[in-house]
């Protein structure tokens, strides 16, 4: 860029401050809108996708199809039907399968995870969980609470499904200790119970052995308001650990006396295998078992969420782009008016030796600089508004832990785009100026 022309253009901008600022303002608003909407949108997207990554993108979730929960029985095997020996002997898995269903007093369920593992050799880990709302009471309080019964393997291998299952106090559920309970943070706080105390759930006494740390806050708001899709609600509900209590999966049969429940199975598949093909194999195996469950991969859920949020972002960015376009048209108007007003000045410049391309460059740089100024200021304001907007949105939704994401390409691109758009806005007026006849230009009033 010719520094002398830049100097002259800058002097020109400086000399008509009010109009220049108004023109810059038009660009500023457009750029600010784009930066804000994309940054906040990307921040939300990242927060949601982080949840999926916590669970693992190599996980397939089996959720009951409509009607299944009212007819199926809790999935558990009779003693001996699922022993260590049977898992160890399963050479296809190559390692013991942590199915998480050990001995249970209830009758054999229709869903047989071991059989599924045998039928689908690419399964490496399985965990199960059932959930239901049951009465809960202490000596002083009584009410209802959501009871989750994760298998030990689900806790150990799929903690992301339970919001990380991070203990604030006490210890986790362990095999062989059936009458123990871990409380969610809000439940423990609301009921005022501590480690070692006893509570009654569904008529059965449980000893409190652990209290979870508060779950990550973005989960509820994002999950509740932005993300929809098959399987998504289930794991969102599971990851809300604050308002739930956790008892061993083995105890589900005791608590679920009518045996009607909803449940979910989490499956991790071998790295590198085709998810689609594995899901087909799982479907086939489930059909053979006569179980009505839908498999869906976390990758598919993540893709679905990303696609949905991507569309939202695109729509918002398009709206912002319209405001940028308005800014560009405003700048074009300003530049054309400037050419008309500065016709005599153009004549003077030509009379003292300015070439056509210098006049062209002068006006292009003039509008480009205003575009650049609008871009830089719009970026700065956009970053500020993104933080303010995220904070306000978070407060509105009760979420404080997600923040806007500023993509480097967006920051650099939006400034470069502003300069280019500014220059383009000035292109036609600049070309018009460069073609002016110097004698006529000098005679203009």
């Amino acid at each position: 860029m010719n520094m002398n022309l830049t100097t002259l253009a800058w002097r020109s901008i400086r000399s008509r401050k009010a109009r220049s600022w108004l023109t810059i303002l038009g660009m500023l608003i457009g750029v600010m809108a784009i930066v804000t909407l994309i940054s906040v949108g990307t921040g939300v997207e990242n927060a949601v996708l982080r949840q999926f990554k916590d669970i693992g993108l190599d996980v397939v979730l089996l959720t009951p199809r409509i009607g299944w929960s009212s007819t199926a029985s809790i999935g558990s095997h009779t003693a001996g039907s699922l022993g260590e020996s049977s898992l160890d002997s399963d050479s296809a898995l190559g390692e013991p399968i942590p199915v998480g269903i050990d001995e249970s007093p209830v009758e054999r369920a229709e869903f047989d995870p071991i059989r599924l593992c045998r039928d689908v050799p690419d399964i490496t880990e399985i965990g199960q969980i059932a959930t239901r709302v049951l009465p809960i009471s202490t000596e002083e309080l009584a009410g209802f609470v959501r009871v989750l019964t994760p298998s030990h393997d689900l806790i150990a291998r799929f903690p992301g499904l339970l919001g990380g299952f991070v203990l604030a106090r006490g210890r986790s559920l362990t095999p062989g200790n059936p009458r123990e309970v871990v409380l969610g943070a809000h439940v423990a706080e609301d009921m005022g119970v501590g480690i070692g105390e006893t509570i009654d759930i569904g008529g059965v006494s449980f000893s409190v052995i652990g209290i979870l740390a508060p779950a990550r806050e973005e989960r509820e708001a994002i999950g509740g308001d932005l993300v929809r899709g098959e399987g998504v609600e289930v794991f969102q509900a599971l990851s809300n650990t604050d308002d739930a209590v956790f008892v061993p999966y083995d105890e589900a049969a005791t608590l679920w006396q009518d045996r009607a429940m909803s449940s979910m199975v989490a499956i991790r598949i071998r790295t590198g295998v085709s998810v689609t093909e594995t899901i087909s194999a799982i479907n086939e195996a489930l059909t053979q078992q006569g179980v009505s469950m839908s498999p869906v991969s976390t990758q598919a859920l993540a893709d679905n969420v990303q696609r949905t949020l991507g569309m939202v972002k695109t729509v918002l960015a398009s709206i912002a782009a319209i405001s940028l376009l308005v800014g560009v048209v405003g700048m074009m108007n300003t530049m054309y008016t400037a050419v008309l007003e500065r016709t005599r000045e153009i004549g003077i410049l030509k009379s003292i030796g300015a070439k056509d391309r210098q006049v062209l460059g002068l006006f292009l740089i003039d509008s480009g600089l205003m575009g650049l100024a609008g871009g830089i200021l719009g970026l700065a304001f956009g970053i500020g508004v993104s933080f303010i907007g995220t904070s306000m949105l978070g407060r509105l939704l009760g979420v404080t832990s997600f923040s806007p994401a500023f993509l480097p390409w967006l920051l650099i691109g939006v400034v470069a785009l502003s300069f280019v758009l500014g220059a383009l806005a000035g292109a036609w007026p600049a070309w018009h100026a460069s073609r002016l006849d110097p004698v006529r230009a000098l005679r203009s009033t």
């Binding site: 520094m3 002398n4 100097t7 002259l8 002097r11 020109s12 400086r14 000399s15 008509r16 005599r344 000045e345 004549g347 003077i348 410049l349 030509k350 009379s351 003292i352 030796g353 300015a354 070439k355 056509d356 391309r357 210098q358 110097p438 004698v439 000098l442």
Partner: protein, 231 residues
């Protein structure tokens, strides 16, 4: 030497054609102070625009030291204006949002000089026209005489061969006009060739060479000793 050979210039001014210059033959030697006189519409300004490469003739040749100006491209003419020609206009033609020194340094900046060099030369040029102390003033803060001296400083900054002044005293009082004319006259002795268009016959006494135009034709080209013939 500036040579005009059967130069004509016509403008279309609907519904008629206006012949500003008709088959003009003229030789202007370099290094002398030339005054072009004549009534309004006689073609004085057109002559200056053609010599100054701001316009092209409809017919004929204009040569500046052997170069036919009519054959130059738009860029070449701009280059010539930048390096070899300085303009001074009746209405000063300063850029209002620039200070005096910023106006003066413009031709140098456009010809690619560094800002530092341009600024230093502009300051020298302003001092040459006794305006060193008014360098940072805007055109609105300067008198007519000062504005015209700023214009002369701007015309001088690239050390041009030709200084073309179109009615430089037209907007000035008599005393200031005379000062400006004297200033232009001095330039002739310093290697430049001032060609001044004026209505005022009083300034003819300063001229080494006088060109009188009427209806686009030269009435006579005289040295100052024959001034009384044309006035």
């Amino acid at each position: 030497m500036i040579s005009l050979d059967r130069v004509s210039k016509c403008y279309r001014r609907e519904p008629n054609m206006v012949h500003a210059l008709r088959d003009l033959d003229l030789d202007i030697p370099l290094g002398v102070f030339t005054i072009v006189m004549g009534p309004s519409g006689s073609g004085k300004s057109t002559l200056l625009h053609l010599i100054g490469c701001l316009d092209t003739p409809t017919a004929g040749r204009i040569e500046l030291e052997g170069t036919n100006l009519a054959e130059l491209s738009t860029n070449q003419r701009a280059e010539l204006r930048s390096r070899r020609i300085g303009f001074v206009f009746q209405s000063f033609h300063q850029i209002s949002n620039l200070s005096a020194i910023e106006n003066v340094e413009l031709p140098m900046l456009l010809s690619g000089a560094t800002r530092r060099t341009a600024r230093a030369r502009a300051r020298t040029a302003l001092e040459r026209v006794s305006l060193g102390d008014r360098a940072d003033h805007r055109p609105t803060e300067l008198s007519g005489g000062e504005l015209q001296r700023v214009a002369i400083a701007r015309a001088l900054i690239n050390d041009p061969d030709l200084i073309l002044a179109d009615e430089p005293t037209g907007n000035l009082d008599t005393e200031t006009g005379e000062q400006v004319t004297r200033l232009l006259r001095q330039l002739a002795g310093r290697g430049s060739t001032p060609i001044v268009v004026t209505h005022n016959p009083e300034y003819a006494e300063f001229a080494d060479s006088l060109v009188y135009l009427r209806d686009g034709r030269q009435v006579d080209s005289l040295n100052t000793s024959k001034l009384e013939v044309v006035t």
